[in-house]
Symmetry: C2
C-alpha cells in the first residue's frame, strides 16, 4: 500500500471522530488497525487521536516486525495483559488525553477484552466509552484503486480454489477433503490466508453455516462450496452449488430460480442503488418462484479486508452496530447471493463478488454457474 494512504485515511478518520464527538479511538480489530496503519494483528491495539496521531501497543516480541509494516507515531511493546493495560495508560498520558470520550469496537470486543481496555489502570476515569464501529465502516466502505486491485487478485485466487474443489468432487470423499482441495489451491495460487471454508453436502446443504465435516459425498448429492481467500490483506467471496451426479428436476428448478434471482440482483448493481432495493429484487424473484419462505440470512454484504463487512442490509446492520447503509457509491464491493435457498431436504446458493461502478456491476468471480458438474 502506498505510504501516503495512511495520512489521508487518518485525516478522514479525524473528521468522522469530530462529527461523532470522539477524542480517541482504541482499536483492536485487526482489519481496522490494518486499514488505518498498515498492520493489524492479534493481542495488539492502535490508539488514534482526533488530530490523526497513532500510538501502537504490540507484544514485545513483535515490535521490530510492526515497525517495518506500520504507519505510526509512537510504539510500545508489552509482555502480558498487565503490561498492555499500563501501556494504554501511558498512551493516554503521552497524548495528554484526560477527558472526553474513547471509541471502542463493540462488534468485535468481548466483555473480558472490554474489561482490559477500560480497566481503571488503563483508561482515565473521566473518559467515557462509546461504540465506534460505524466510523470504521464508513471509512472503509469505498475502496481505492489499490484496494480494488487486491480484491481482484483475491477473486482470481478464489476462482482457482473453486475450480480445484469442483474438479475433485466424487462420491466417497469427505466434505473436509473437498475443503482441502480448495484451500491448497488457494494457497498455491497466492493466498496468504483464507477465512473458514464452508463445504456441505446432501442434507447438510440445508444448514446456514455449513462448515465441513467427515460426511462422505454420495452419488446425487448437492455440494455447496463457499470460499474466501485473503491476498495481500484483501478478501473475495464466492459460492457455488454443484451436484455429484444428476440433479432432480426439483433441484434444477430451485437452482435456476435462485440463480435468476442472484443474476437479476447483480444486474441492478450500480452507483446510487440502495441495499434495500437490491435485497428486494432477490427476494421478489425467489418469492414469485414459490420459495419465498426459503431464504435465510442477509442476501448481500460488503467485501474488503474482511470477507463480510459493511455495507450490510439495514436489519442485519442494526444488530452489528452499523448505521443504515447509504445508496451504494462507486467502488463499494459487495457479495451478492449470500443468503441461499433452503427447501428442507437440501439447499442451493450461488454468490459472487461484485464492484459497484457508474455503469453497472463488475463481477470479479467469474466461474461457471451450473448445477451439473
Amino acid at each position: 500500500m502506498c505510504a501516503q494512504q495512511y495520512p489521508e485515511r487518518l485525516t478522514r478518520c479525524s473528521q468522522l471522530m469530530k462529527e461523532a464527538g470522539l477524542n480517541v479511538l482504541l482499536l483492536t480489530k485487526p482489519s481496522n488497525m490494518f486499514y488505518l496503519t498498515g498492520d493489524g494483528r492479534l493481542c495488539a491495539y492502535a490508539m488514534i487521536t482526533q488530530d490523526g496521531k497513532v500510538a501502537l501497543g504490540v507484544p514485545q516480541t513483535d515490535v521490530m516486525d510492526v515497525k517495518q509494516l506500520a504507519h505510526f507515531d509512537h510504539i510500545v511493546g508489552f509482555d502480558d495483559e498487565v503490561g498492555m493495560i499500563h501501556s494504554i495508560a501511558h498512551n493516554f498520558e503521552h497524548f495528554g488525553v484526560k477527558e472526553g470520550s474513547v471509541g471502542l469496537e463493540y462488534t468485535f470486543l468481548t466483555q473480558s477484552m472490554m474489561g482490559i481496555l477500560t480497566h481503571p489502570h488503563a483508561k482515565p476515569a473521566a473518559i467515557i466509552v462509546k461504540d465506534c464501529t460505524h466510523i470504521l465502516s464508513e471509512l472503509r466502505i469505498v475502496k481505492d484503486k489499490e484496494e480494488i486491485k487486491r480484491i481482484k487478485a483475491a477473486a482470481k485466487v478464489a476462482v482457482k480454489g473453486m475450480k480445484a474443489a469442483v474438479g475433485a468432487l466424487k462420491p466417497g470423499m469427505t466434505e473436509s477433503q473437498v475443503a482441502a482441495k480448495a484451500e491448497f489451491a488457494m494457497r498455491r495460487a497466492g493466498a496468504e490466508e483464507f477465512w473458514r471454508t464452508y463445504v456441505s453436502s446432501g442434507p447438510r446443504t440445508n444448514i446456514a453455516h455449513g462448515f465441513p465435516t467427515l460426511r462422505k459425498l454420495q452419488a446425487g448429492d448437492l455440494v455447496m462450496i463457499d470460499i474466501h481467500p485473503i491476498v495481500n490483506g484483501y478478501s473475495a467471496d464466492i459460492c457455488r452449488t454443484v451436484c455429484v451426479g444428476q440433479p432432480t428436476a426439483e433441484q434444477q428448478t430451485a437452482y435456476d430460480l435462485y440463480l435468476k434471482a442472484q443474476q437479476n440482483t447483480i444486474a441492478k448493481v450500480k452507483t446510487g442503488v440502495g441495499m434495500v432495493e437490491l435485497e428486494q429484487t432477490l427476494r421478489q424473484v425467489v418469492k414469485e418462484g414459490g420459495h419465498g419462505g426459503h431464504i435465510f440470512g442477509p442476501p448481500i454484504h460488503g467485501v474488503g479486508i474482511d470477507f463480510e463487512e459493511s455495507p450490510l442490509p439495514p436489519g442485519h446492520a442494526f444488530f452489528h452496530g452499523e448505521k443504515e447503509p447509504l445508496p451504494l457509491e462507486r467502488n463499494v464491493v459487495i457479495a451478492v447471493g449470500n443468503c441461499g435457498l433452503y427447501t428442507g431436504p437440501w439447499g442451493v446458493r450461488v454468490e459472487d463478488t461484485v464492484v459497484v461502478s457508474l455503469k453497472g456491476p463488475m463481477v470479479l468471480t467469474e466461474y461457471p454457474r451450473q448445477l451439473e458438474k
Copy 2:
C-alpha cells in the same frame, strides 16, 4: 459421544449453577454448547436451566440437522436476529423463569451480541446477568475416556500434518504453502477442521502469533510451525521449529535450552502438580540459560474441544474470566511449551499435547524434536 454423557454433564452443570447462584445459562460459544448438548454452531444458543433442561435456538434452516445431533428438551428455529430475540423470550417463558440470574459467556460475547441476548424483548427485566465462563471451564477441564480417545486421534492427525509440512520445507516456498501442506495432510488424515495454522520464518519467528504470509523461505531460515487439527470435535496442539539448512551455534544453543525447559516441565506433569509450579520450572531453566527476558505468552494451556482452553496460568486466567486453576487432576489435557523463546532476530518454540495421569505425563504428539531437518 455416548448419549448418556449429556444428562450426566447437565447434572454436574446444575450443581455448579446452584453454587454460583445462577438460575439459567444462555450459551452461544459453540464449544460450550457442544459439550453440554452434542451440538455447537454459530448463530445459535442453548438455554440451560438449573434442573438440567435444555432449550435450543437455531437458524430455521438448521432445525432438522440439530435434531439429529443434539440432546435437548425444546427447540426453536428463527429467521433472523429479531426472531432470535423473541425465541429467547419464548424460552424464558417456556421454563417459567421470571427472575433470578442468567449466566452469559463474557469471554466469548461481543458487546453487540450481549445487546441481542439481553435485549428488553429477550430477557425479563428482573433477571440479572452474570459471567458463567468459569462454570463451563470447570465442567470441561477433566476429560472422560471418550474425550481422551478423540484428543489422541487429533494428536495423531497433528503429527501427520507436522510431518507433511516439515518434509516439504525448502527455500523458495512461501509460509502459506508450508501451511497448505500441513492443512491438506490433516484433512486427508481425518481432520474435519483445524484452528488457524501458524507458520513463520526467518525474522518472523520472533513474533508471538506468526500467521503465514507470502514470505519465501530462505536457506538458513528457522521455520516455526504450529498446528491444531480438530477430529470429531476435539483438538490437539503441536509446534516445532526447524531450520532450512544449517542452524547457527547460537540458534542451536537457544533451541536446546528451550527444549530442555519444555522437557523438564513435561517430566513434572502428573496428578496434583500446580500450573504455577510447571510454569516456574520452564521459566527457571530458560532463565538459567541466560534467556530469562525472552519468553512471551503463557507457557501452558489446556487442550480439548478448543485448542486453547482452561487450565490457563493464573495471571492469564484472570483476564480471561477464569478462576485460578486448582492442582491438575487426572485426565486434564495440557499443551506444554506454548510461550516460545524470542531473541530478537529469531525465535524458537516446541510444544506438545500431554495428558495428566497418576503416574506422570502421557505425551500424545510424538514427532522428532530437532532443529536440523
